[in-house]
Symmetry: C2
Subunit: 159 residues, 2 copies
């Protein structure tokens, strides 16, 4: 079972792919980001996200895709911008006919650390532990995407 | 010169195509909506919007696309939902290599009626007048999309 996690964003979008072994062990397949320079027009960014995610999907062939849900009480402008990218990411998964799961940042923090108000660093440290790595995957957005994927694995086990 | 206007939305997305003649006269080519039943999952809606807009683009071959900008101070949840659809609409235009213009609801009202706080009905009535129609195009979302397209024509004239 292979899972692709996505941490949506327009300037930088994180992705992370993990394999779940029969033993329940989770292994890192690949992780990275789709990044564009500051002031890149939104339409260029969306096309880049679309093409890059299609490539990731074709190369890794995940069974399920997990996309972090948006939760912005503070900055509506940022939320709207990220939602453009999130719509494109969701489209790519749907076009591939892959099942899509969604978790809020709170659910991811809660599942990864047992504490909904955990710091980003604590979540990323748990990503490192779950994947048996010596260092936290970089950049942060890739680690966040892996956290979303691992959350889905852990939620699945609980069911 | 042919212009496709889009009024983005997830439950219902309006589109309207107009031709600008050399005289400056604007003529209706086609208008309609992409609509999905209540409670349709967002990924299904996005795929429907993508496929439907691709079809509209292929059939009408617009020279430019105009997409209404989002402005929601009140309802962040709605804004985030609409932005998913807007991202997909922008992607379709970009994939076709067509120039994209954006106007806020305020700009559209101002340009169509001369008054930024005009009622929706007044804007739609001006759509009817500009296109020389006997009735306002239906549904509202199609008329709003046409208003975006006509705004672009009028802004172009002003330049």
């Amino acid at each position: 079972m292979r899972i692709l996690g996505i941490d949506p964003g327009t300037g930088i979008l994180g992705f992370g792919v993990v394999d779940v072994e029969k033993s329940g062990k989770v292994k890192l397949v690949t992780a990275g980001v789709v990044k564009s320079p500051a002031h890149t027009p939104l339409d260029d960014r969306l096309l880049d996200i679309y093409d890059s995610l299609r490539e990731v999907m074709e190369e890794t062939k995940p069974d399920e895709v997990v996309i972090e849900k948006l939760f912005f009480a503070k900055n509506v402008t940022t939320a709207i911008s990220v939602a453009h990218a999130r719509g494109v990411a969701m489209l790519v998964a749907k076009q591939a006919g892959v099942k899509i799961a969604e978790y809020t940042p709170l659910q991811i923090k809660q599942t990864m650390t047992g504490y909904g108000r955990a710091e980003k660093k604590q979540v990323q440290e748990m990503v490192r532990v779950h994947l048996g790595l010596s260092e936290v995957p970089k950049p942060d957005d890739a680690a966040d995407a892996l956290a979303a994927a691992i959350t889905h694995v852990m939620m699945g086990k609980l069911r």
